[in-house]
């Protein structure tokens, strides 16, 4: 989240050779390569698992994430987990109860319905806006290119979390603003990739020829530029979801993200920070949910990169 790996920025463009390759077979080869390696498959399984939880939350969760148990026997705030199989006789609460006497297990499950869409949407917004900026900069070139890319540089001039904090402070806390803030601080990387892709396509004689033959810029964009940029965008985007979920959790932790009673993992941690020494279970489970999700997307992204970028292949 607060880190950037240059290896993410290297696979920007593979160059003309890959571009001219038959796309269909490339994807088939990549797919085979992806499934040969454990890392991507593990990631896929973890992500699939979390998506399943998000989809099935109302079915799996024993209670509503908002339902409180105030006044019921044994239901005290911050009660430790009570698992019937392990000999606990009261009402079963796998992860215990939180500060509003709600079932933490249900809340963590429902949390997937907040964090996953948040991660996806953030990256989607960032890719769309970033790609738009990048392609305009690359296509038009000249001073506009310069101005746009310098603006991107300014955004990259801040440690991303600090800029995101400042933006959320300005926009006000909440999930939508968290999404916007993270999208803003991450979009320059997509803009750069898209721009590089446009530039490399511009240089190919073949494209110049098709332009001379009257192909519209839009057609060139969709037939040449986007396919060329797709590989790095997919890889960056997958890793970006991991980063977005982490940053959203950090903002939630600082009280700037999702607002109560939304079952957002970072916010759950923030609400119970003070109980870390007395009721650590309230910290462990939402935190684990974050780690598993982020780990899933990270591994999936790594697997995709290995599969899609032959130059990094062993």
């Amino acid at each position: 989240m607060t880190s950037r790996e240059p290896e993410l920025e290297i696979p920007a463009v593979d160059g003309p050779q890959t571009l001219l390759r038959e796309t269909g077979s490339v994807w088939r080869i990549a797919l085979r390569r992806f499934f040969r390696r454990k890392i991507g498959v593990t990631g896929l399984v973890l992500v699939g698992f979390m998506i399943l939880i998000a989809l099935l939350a109302p079915v799996i969760a024993p209670y509503s994430p908002y339902e409180d148990f105030i006044g019921e026997p044994d239901a005290v705030r911050w009660a430790p987990p009570c698992v019937n199989v392990l000999g606990c006789e009261g009402q079963q609460h796998l992860f215990g109860l939180d500060g509003n006497v709600r079932d933490l297990y249900s809340r963590v499950l429902y949390g997937a319905r907040v964090s996953l869409p948040l991660g996806f949407t953030t990256v989607l917004v960032a890719i769309i806006v970033g790609a738009l900026i990048g392609s305009i900069a690359g296509y038009v070139g000249g001073w506009l290119d310069n101005v746009l890319m310098r603006i991107m540089d300014v955004v990259l001039g801040f440690p991303s979390l600090i800029l995101a904090i400042a933006i959320v402070f300005v926009l006000g806390p909440g999930i939508r603003n968290t999404l916007l803030a993270i999208a803003i601080v991450t979009l320059p990387q997509y803009a750069r990739v898209m721009r590089a892709s446009v530039l490399s396509v511009k240089e190919i004689d073949y494209v110049a020829a098709s332009r001379a033959l009257g192909s519209s810029p839009a057609r060139i964009l969709f037939t040449r530029v986007i396919p060329n940029a797709l590989t790095p965008l997919v890889v960056l985007g997958t890793l970006g979801i991991a980063g977005a979920i982490l940053e959203a959790a950090a903002l939630g932790f600082l009280g700037l993200g999702a607002q109560p009673p939304t079952p957002e993992w970072g916010r759950m941690l923030a609400d119970e920070t003070a109980r870390i020494f007395t009721a650590p279970h309230l910290m462990i489970f939402p935190g684990l949910a974050i780690v598993i999700t982020v780990l899933g997307f990270n591994m999936l992204g790594d697997g995709l990169r290995d599969a899609l970028d032959p130059s990094l292949n062993e």
């Binding site: 500060g99 109560p260 007395t278």
Partner: protein
């Protein structure tokens, strides 16, 4: 790699160096520069302040500060030294809380010479008469004070007092348990048990009077309908909130003002919890199925509301279940929250509270119900408050406040919910550990088993010039070093400190204070009447050349004494 790190460090250092080239680190905030504009803002005709150079000669000229008339809206007309050890306060109207206010630490006395030498801004080098003297302020980590051997009330029983801070209650407890601290403040509700179960620690209850309330602004729909407000008043199970979200010893509030304040709970107690009656009222008002609204709060720990997020969520649940009102919960940044609520711009329901500054009912009612916070004021109530504020005798004021409380119950600008209990904790070995209802712990009355007492509070003080600070963390450090004419005793009553006594004339508008003889400041100089007058003048007289302070707001002067005198554009507004 090593090289790279070196380069980076150098780069950072160079940047700092560039920044520090201009300012020197030990610089005390350039008084010459900042005091200049203060002088230019002074409209010369309205000032009668004697120049500070005069005040340094107590045997000769006697200092005074005054407003031209009482039209400026404040409570004080003049403060004059009438002898080397006598000060006379002339008020614009009788103030029943005069002595209680005097005991407030922002009105502490420092040597006139010191205020002058620091340009009216002794932010980190206070010189007082208190039981402890400031040794060092290690920014970011701690403040060290040492015992004042010449303290007029007798030297403290231990040598060194250390102030530290940690934001989380749990970290403070850890410090206590590990023996690194002797006394900590503001336990979280969830930590009471930890303290009670540990035989090495004692729980100290904090009796500071406070109120947590649910506010509704009557200029917004549907809260403009009194029946809706009454429905909310009856439809919230306040007992359930107190039982679940407040520490032991908290009480459901039957009145806005806590009963420990004289005349606080005259009149009829609050409505019983009655969801059916509440729903009937709602239906009558045209909302049989409830309505959509929002609950706003700020995420700031206060004794009156120790867990804002959890309580906001709980109230939303209750509104939904008891009344069918669908409320979203919104955290608003603290500054913006205060800004909007104080001018009555907060739509929906807002959660706020109040901790007493001094034990008088005006500190609760007048501060809330004369202004626009809850929309249009209730004219009969304002009239009653005017009467009450001018009535010095407690018994005489009682019927006035009975009516006032009944009006509040009828109009429901707020739903009083809880009087929060707070607690500090100390090592069992600290003798005499106790929390006074007003002001900070009085460490000179405690005896740790060694030479040092370490105190851990929530946050670092902002400055140690408390005439111009409002936060509790600054005030509690100031109180160890500085003293005012009066002080609060351990029961919360104002008792003479640097004054031997202050006595009113018949109608309570003139108070004559005899200043204690033979008291020495920490720098060895003697306390006299001019020090008292100058300390007050610096705060209350906006035209005083030493009216500088920290932010220059002198909030408590403006707020407890009505207004600052001789302010540039002071109109007649109240």
């Amino acid at each position: 790699m090593k090289k790279l790190k070196g380069v980076v460090i150098l780069a950072i250092l160079a940047m700092v160096a560039a920044a520090c080239g201009a300012d020197e680190p030990a610089d005390t905030s350039a008084p010459a520069e900042t005091s200049a504009p203060a002088e230019t803002t002074a409209p010369p005709e309205t000032t009668e302040t004697t120049a500070p150079s005069d005040t340094s000669a107590p045997s000769g000229d006697l200092a005074s500060v005054s407003a031209e008339s009482c039209d400026y809206g404040g409570k004080i007309q003049s403060i004059e030294a009438t002898g080397t050890h006598e000060v006379v306060f002339t008020l614009c109207s009788p103030d029943p809380a005069f002595l209680a206010k005097l005991a407030f630490v922002p009105f502490a006395i420092q040597p006139a010479e010191h205020l002058e030498a620091t340009g009216g801004s002794p932010l980190d080098n206070p010189i007082g008469t208190g039981p402890f003297m400031l040794d060092a302020w290690e920014r970011g980590s701690e403040i060290v004070m040492s015992a004042n051997p010449d303290y007029w009330g007798g030297p403290p029983p231990f040598e060194t007092l250390v102030f530290r801070w940690a934001a989380e209650s749990t970290s403070r407890i850890l410090e206590l348990q590990s023996g690194n601290a002797h006394y900590i403040t503001n336990l979280a509700a969830s930590d009471y048990e930890t303290i009670q179960n540990d035989e090495n620690l004692v729980l100290l209850e904090d009796p500071n009077p406070n109120i947590f309330y649910i506010g509704m602004t009557n200029t917004f729909e549907p809260f403009n309908d009194v029946r809706v407000r009454q429905a909310v008043a009856m439809g919230i199970d306040r007992q359930r909130i107190v039982d679940n979200f407040y520490p032991l010893g908290s009480e459901v509030a039957d009145f806005f003002t806590p009963c420990s304040i004289p005349n606080g709970c005259e009149g009829e107690p609050w409505y019983e919890f009655d969801p059916e009656a509440a729903r009937a009222l709602l239906a009558e008002a045209g909302y049989p199925d409830g309505f959509d609204t929002r609950i706003t709060y700020r995420d700031v720990f206060r004794v009156y509301l120790p867990e804002p997020g959890a309580v906001a969520t709980e109230i939303a649940t209750q509104l939904r279940e008891n009344l069918g009102i669908n409320a979203t919960v919104e955290e608003v940044e603290s500054g913006a929250f205060i800004e909007q609520t104080s001018i009555g711009a907060m739509d929906g329901i807002h959660l706020l509270g109040w901790g007493a500054d001094y034990p008088h009912v005006t500190n609760f009612l007048d501060t809330h119900f004369r202004g626009p916070q809850f929309g249009d004021t209730i004219p009969e109530l304002v009239e009653l408050l005017d009467q009450g504020a001018a009535t010095v005798d407690e018994a005489e004021a009682a019927p006035i406040y009975e009516q006032a409380n009944n009006l509040l119950r009828e109009h429901v600008p707020v739903v009083p919910v809880a009087h929060g209990a707070a607690a500090d904790a100390a090592l069992a070995t600290v003798e005499g550990a106790q929390v006074p209802p007003f002001g900070a712990p009085q460490f000179h009355t405690m005896t740790p088993d060694g030479d040092t007492l370490v105190f851990v509070q929530n946050a670092e003080p902002i400055s140690l010039f408390c005439a111009d600070e409002t936060d509790g963390e600054s005030l509690s450090a100031c109180e160890q070093v500085l003293e005012g004419l009066y002080d609060y005793d351990l029961e919360g009553n104002p008792v003479p400190a640097l004054a031997e006594s202050c006595d009113p004339n018949e109608d309570g508008t003139v108070w004559t204070c005899a200043i204690r003889q033979g008291v020495k400041f920490h720098d060895g100089s003697d306390l006299d009447a001019n020090d008292v007058v100058t300390s007050f003048a610096v705060g209350i007289d906006a035209a005083h050349p030493l009216h500088v302070g920290n932010t220059g707001g002198f909030e408590y002067f403006a707020y407890l004494w009505g207004a600052l005198m001789n302010a540039e554009d002071a109109g007649g507004e109240g």
